[in-house]
Each structure stands twice: as structure tokens, then as C-alpha cells.
């Protein structure tokens, strides 16, 4: 009995925290269906007008296109770099530890503001102001550790014997990597690609520092927009984006596990 009461206290405290965690998301979701001109709860009617309104906002549509461009480019580059690096790291040491592993994970340990400032000042020094270059490098930097993590996790699941079998049958190491290793780690590579895209699409801090008026990704548009008021159209757009990233994560989860995506694996 006493033990039941003990767990009941933890569960009720848990519900309070869960409500807190979900509150802003529920407010956005419900508020996006408002019939009024401002985000108001409780609702006095349901309407999809704010979802249609998204299409009337060229700023958001342009930002969305920019973010997709950037996300696709950055995730492809970081998948290439990250996959090769993960294979190299794993071949050196299957436990993927040591200084090389730490160096590869550094972009996750250095705060975004510091990364953004450094990249900006570096390119200012070199007189490179093309946002395609600076944003692409910045986003590659922050997304590629996720690819390394995802690929390393699937490498660990691969039976090592099949690589030795390939080598014994006379394949040189490059052929082994191309014909044996890569096909076997495909889930990790695709999962890493999806996560890299989502991380790039989400990243605000780096983009705020590196944007130029000619290239403003969607999160930066939203950052500038929400400072002036709480508009229902943003709630509608946010709901769409949440569904998109939930779908992406669901896909990534099917290729690699949740623990890999969120770094719960030690």
C-alpha cells in the first residue's frame, strides 16, 4: 500500500511536468484553428482559414524554399563526410572512442553562438560573404556529427566477418567498403541523412548570424516575425512544420533507433 502511494506521488508530479512540456505545443495546435484575428483560446469555432493564409505569405514560402535548399545541400555534404569518417573511425577502433571520436563530435559540444560567431568572423576575414558558402559550411558542421553517430551505430550491428570474407575473396579494401560495408550500413546512412536535414531545418542560431538579406531561411523569418506579435498564421505554419518533422523522425526511427537519434546511447 505504502509503495503504491509512493509511486502515485511520482506519477502525479510526472503529469504536472508532462502538462508543462506539452502546453505550448497544444496551444499552437489548438490555436491554429481559431476563427479570430488573433491566437485565442478557448476556441469559439473551428476554421482552416489560417492554413490557407500561409500560402498568401511570400516571406514564409521563400524562407521555406531557402531552408529546403540549404537542408538538402548540407545534409548531402555531411552524409558524405560523416559516412566516410564513421567507417574510418570504426575501422580504427570498433568502440568508436579516443581522440578522433571526440574531435568528430566537437561541433555538438561547442555552443551554437560560438560556432556561428567564429564562422562569421572567419569568413569576414577571408572576405567571403556569399551566404551559400557560409551557411552551407556552418550547417554541414553542425549536422555531420549526427551522421557519424547514426552510421557508427549501424556499423556496430554489422557482422565483422562479412568484411573479412570480402577481403579473403580478393577484394581490395576500397571494394570491400563500396560493395560490402556501405550496402550493409544503408539504414544508418539514410537515417543520418534525414536527421541531418531536420537539424539543419531547425537551426536558428547559426542562420541568424550567417543570413544575408538575399538568403533568409525559414526559422530566421519566423524569429523576426514573432517578435512583433502572436499571429494565428504562425501557429498554422508551426503545426504544418511539426507534422513534417514528426514524419521525418518517424522515418528516421525506422532506419535507426530513437536512442541513436537523440544520443541516448553511450
Amino acid at each position: 500500500m505504502r509503495r503504491g502511494a509512493y509511486q502515485a506521488i511520482w506519477v502525479s508530479a510526472g503529469w504536472v511536468v508532462i502538462l508543462f512540456m506539452l502546453a505550448p505545443i497544444l496551444v499552437i495546435f489548438l490555436g491554429s484553428f481559431t476563427t479570430r484575428e488573433y491566437l485565442s483560446l478557448p476556441l469559439d469555432g473551428l476554421s482552416l482559414r489560417w492554413y490557407w493564409e500561409i500560402l498568401e505569405q511570400p516571406k514564409f514560402l521563400d524562407g521555406f524554399a531557402r531552408s529546403v535548399q540549404l537542408g538538402v545541400a548540407a545534409s548531402i555534404v555531411s552524409t558524405f563526410l560523416g559516412t566516410l569518417a564513421a567507417i574510418g573511425l570504426f575501422r580504427r577502433n570498433p568502440k568508436a572512442t579516443g581522440w578522433v571520436a571526440i574531435v568528430l563530435m566537437l561541433p555538438l559540444m561547442v555552443p551554437s553562438v560560438i560556432i556561428a560567431m567564429s564562422v562569421l568572423q572567419f569568413f569576414n576575414t577571408l572576405n567571403i560573404t556569399n551566404p551559400y558558402v557560409t551557411l552551407l559550411l556552418g550547417h554541414t558542421l553542425i549536422t555531420f556529427p549526427y551522421v557519424v553517430r547514426s552510421v557508427t551505430a549501424t556499423l556496430g550491428l554489422m557482422p565483422r566477418g562479412i568484411e573479412w570474407a570480402g577481403a579473403n575473396l580478393g577484394a581490395n579494401p576500397w571494394r570491400v567498403i563500396w560493395h560490402v560495408t556501405i550496402p550493409n550500413i544503408r539504414p544508418g546512412v539514410i537515417g543520418g541523412l534525414i536527421i541531418a536535414f531536420l537539424v539543419s531545418f531547425d537551426s536558428v542560431t547559426i542562420s541568424i548570424f550567417l543570413q544575408t538579406p538575399a538568403f533568409i531561411p525559414l526559422p530566421v523569418r519566423l524569429y523576426n516575425f514573432i517578435e512583433y506579435g502572436v499571429e494565428p498564421v504562425v501557429a498554422a505554419l508551426s503545426t504544418v512544420l511539426m507534422l513534417v518533422s514528426a514524419a521525418g523522425l518517424y522515418l528516421a526511427e525506422r532506419f535507426v533507433g530513437m536512442d541513436v537519434i537523440f544520443g541516448a546511447r553511450k
Binding site: P24, L81, G82, R91, Q121, I208, M242
Partner: protein, 304 residues
């Protein structure tokens, strides 16, 4: 083995040992070739940029030579000192505030008997990582603003006449910190709680301790390594957070990260912004180093 064979006499073919050494060398070269593109990218977009920032911070514009001019300027200006102090203070308070809900979720995830409830709590913990940062911040704006959810409910219930000032306060910033970084508190605590030997809990119960006593005398001390590392990670994240504190805190509650942003992009004082970045870098590096030290100390004491 290779040496004994080599001593036998003249030979035409390499020994198996030599073949193995050569193969290993080739493999090693291959590993570095695979790692090279990534390491080159890291050098070019992380290492060099960091060095440039440090250089900009200590070499003033227009005059040759090393100087701590910008650091002196930062640390002698009451406004910037205030920003630094606020960053540290809010970083500490937000960490302590995150610890309570963090422990609650971790305890539910690690020690609740029902597996489905454990999974559910874990998924909710992951929500902030699934929903984009800017959307979460927008959600809190919608909850806290003068026309927001809280104020309209209170007005509906006739509890207030004029809206409560919730936005652009330290409370709003706390909410942002906790919501963003809770996961990083839950994870290490849940990990240490899961490692606790269930026999210890049974032993405590058999010896007559109430569940509360077991919690205070067994569970809590054993989870301290997780608590300490969770707190230090959260502190490092809090002081370097940019988006949530600048939107939810507003003009009156600026932190180090906003000062860096403002000096770089509005004031266009590159060197001063670099110095502020170096100060933040040192502060978060110290927090992380402290985390490692504390974790090893607790590790030694509790044998985890």
C-alpha cells in the same frame, strides 16, 4: 616469430609477419584517407574560425601587437558586467529549477513498474527535441503574452482586470530554459537510476525502511553522479542559449549571447564581440571541466 624466421638465412619472399605489418600499414593509411575529408572540414570550419576569434579578441584594430584592451573594456563597463552576472545568475537558478522536474521524469522513466508508462514519459521528454526550437519559443509567447492563454483564462474567470506581465521577465526566461534543456537533465539521472541494483531497494524494504526513507537514503545518494553531470550540462547550455532567452526575456534581460550578437551585427564591433565570445567560451569550458571532475569524484565515491 618474424625475427626467428629472418635469422634462419637468406630468403626471397617476405615473411607472414612482414606481410601482416605491411597490410596493417595500408589499412591505417586507408583509415586516415576515410577520416581526412571530415577532419579537413572541421579544421576549415571550426578550428581556424575559433583561432580567428581568439586573434580578433587580443589584437585590436588599427594598432599592432597583443592587447587585452577589449577584455578590460568589457570587464570595466557596468552594463557588460551586469550582463555577465545576469548570465551566470540565471544559468545557476535555471539549473536548480530544471533539477526538480528533471528528477521527477527520470524517476518515472527508470523506476516505475509499468513499462508502458515509462515509454510514454520517455516520449514526452523527447518532445522538445522533435518540435523545432523556434516553434517552441512561439508557443510560449502564445501562452505568456498579454493576450495569451494564461491571461485570457484568468480574465475569463474574472480573477484579473488588467493582464499580468508574464512576458519579458526572468520567469519567462526560466520557462524557456527548463523547457529546452529538461531532456539533458533527465537523461544522465535516468541512466544512473537504471543502474541501481534492485536488490538494494529490496534489502532496504526488508530491513523495514519506508519507501520515502529508501528514496532519501538509497536512491538519492546513488543518483548523485547523474544529478551532478546533468546540472553542469544544463548550466553550460543555459549560459550559451540564444534564441529562447532573447525572445522571452526581451530588452531588459539581455544575456551574454545577445551581447555577442548585438556587438557583432548591430554595433559592428568585431573585436569587442570576439572578446565577449572568448569570455563565454572560457565560462562554458570551465563548467564542462567541472562536470567531468565532479563526475569522476562522485564516481570514485559511489563506485559507479
Amino acid at each position: 616469430m618474424a625475427t626467428s624466421e629472418a635469422a634462419v638465412g637468406p630468403r626471397l619472399q617476405p615473411t607472414p609477419g612482414e606481410i601482416a605489418v605491411a597490410a596493417e600499414r595500408r589499412q591505417n593509411v586507408l583509415n586516415w584517407v576515410l577520416l581526412a575529408p571530415a577532419l579537413a572540414m572541421l579544421t576549415f570550419s571550426l578550428l581556424f574560425p575559433l583561432l580567428i576569434v581568439i586573434r580578433n579578441a587580443v589584437y585590436p584594430a588599427g594598432q599592432p601587437g597583443f592587447s587585452l584592451f577589449y577584455f578590460e573594456k568589457f570587464l570595466s563597463d557596468p552594463y557588460f558586467l551586469g550582463v555577465l552576472w545576469r548570465t551566470f545568475r540565471l544559468g545557476v537558478i535555471a539549473t536548480v529549477v530544471t533539477l526538480v522536474p528533471g528528477y521527477v521524469l527520470a524517476h518515472n522513466i527508470a523506476l516505475h513498474p509499468n513499462a508502458r508508462w515509462r515509454t510514454f514519459v520517455m516520449i514526452v521528454t523527447l518532445v522538445p527535441l522533435v518540435v523545432q526550437l523556434i516553434i517552441r519559443v512561439f508557443g510560449w509567447l502564445a501562452v505568456l503574452s498579454p493576450n495569451g492563454t494564461i491571461n485570457s483564462f484568468l480574465r475569463e474567470l474574472d480573477l484579473i482586470d488588467s493582464p499580468l506581465r508574464l512576458l519579458f521577465t526572468e520567469t519567462a526566461m526560466m520557462i524557456g530554459f527548463v523547457h529546452s534543456h529538461l531532456y539533458f537533465m533527465v537523461l544522465p539521472i535516468a541512466a544512473t537510476l537504471m543502474k541501481i541494483d534492485p536488490n538494494l531497494l529490496r534489502a532496504s524494504e526488508n530491513l523495514g525502511a519506508t519507501p520515502t526513507k529508501t528514496f532519501i537514503n538509497v536512491i538519492l545518494p546513488l543518483s548523485m553522479p547523474g544529478v551532478v553531470s546533468g546540472c553542469l550540462i544544463c548550466f553550460a547550455l543555459n549560459i550559451s542559449d540564444f534564441v529562447a532567452p532573447s525572445v522571452l526575456g526581451g530588452n531588459r534581460n539581455r544575456m551574454m549571447t545577445y551581447t555577442i550578437f548585438e556587438q557583432q551585427l548591430y554595433v559592428a564591433n568585431q573585436h569587442f564581440a570576439a572578446a565577449a565570445t572568448v569570455i563565454l567560451m572560457v565560462a562554458s569550458a570551465l563548467a564542462i571541466a567541472g562536470a567531468f571532475r565532479a563526475a569522476t569524484m562522485y564516481g570514485r565515491r559511489f563506485g559507479t
